[in-house]
Amino acid sequence: MYLGRVVGRVWSTVKNQNLTGQRLLVVQPVTPELKDTGRRIICTDATGAGAGELIYWTRAREASFAYLPEEVVTDATITGIVDELHIKRAAAGETKC
């Protein structure tokens, strides 16, 4: 799963019937330090996330498993809304593998 922030919404009237009723949100991937990283992506939403919210999303085939037994045609789904992130990176001098 990846961290991201909801930055927009896509409206589509003509779409595959297996997308009917799905909210399509624009997500900006972010780092644990909440800096933007990479390019924006369109996600379906399994959580009711809103604009500006920090979320985590699931990629690939597993994204559609959020809707089983419905076969929603998606490759990216918002699967959780993040309340808190507890991050502690090691100080400089990462131990070598």
Binding site: M1, Y56, A60, E62, A63, I81, L85, C97
Partner: protein, 90 residues
């Protein structure tokens, strides 16, 4: 699989029902020389890994879902081991 470092944890109350009770770790994938490899990701924990641990990370759905015993759920990354040592020759 990749080696990664556990750098944090996600707290989420509103989430997909299949994620209830899962520990979600923020892990930073690493190169074999210990440098960071891309951005940190969120992975389900199957080995009770802790902050700072060096772990084995799978990025494939079936193995991730199997590891946490939740097949057919939206989980594609899981921590499936705690790394003790890595030996490199050549």
């Amino acid at each position: 699989m990749l080696i990664a470092r556990v750098i944090g944890e996600v707290v989420a109350t509103r989430k997909h029902a299949s994620h209830e009770g899962l520990k979600l770790l923020v892990v930073q994938p690493l190169n074999l020389d210990g440098t960071e490899r891309g951005d940190a990701v969120v992975a389900a924990d199957s080995v009770d890994a802790g902050l700072g641990d060096r772990v084995l990370l799978t990025l494939e759905g079936f193995s991730a879902m199997s590891a946490v015993g939740r097949l057919q759920t939206p989980i594609e990354m899981a921590v499936i081991g705690v790394v003790d040592t890595v030996e490199l020759k050549g």
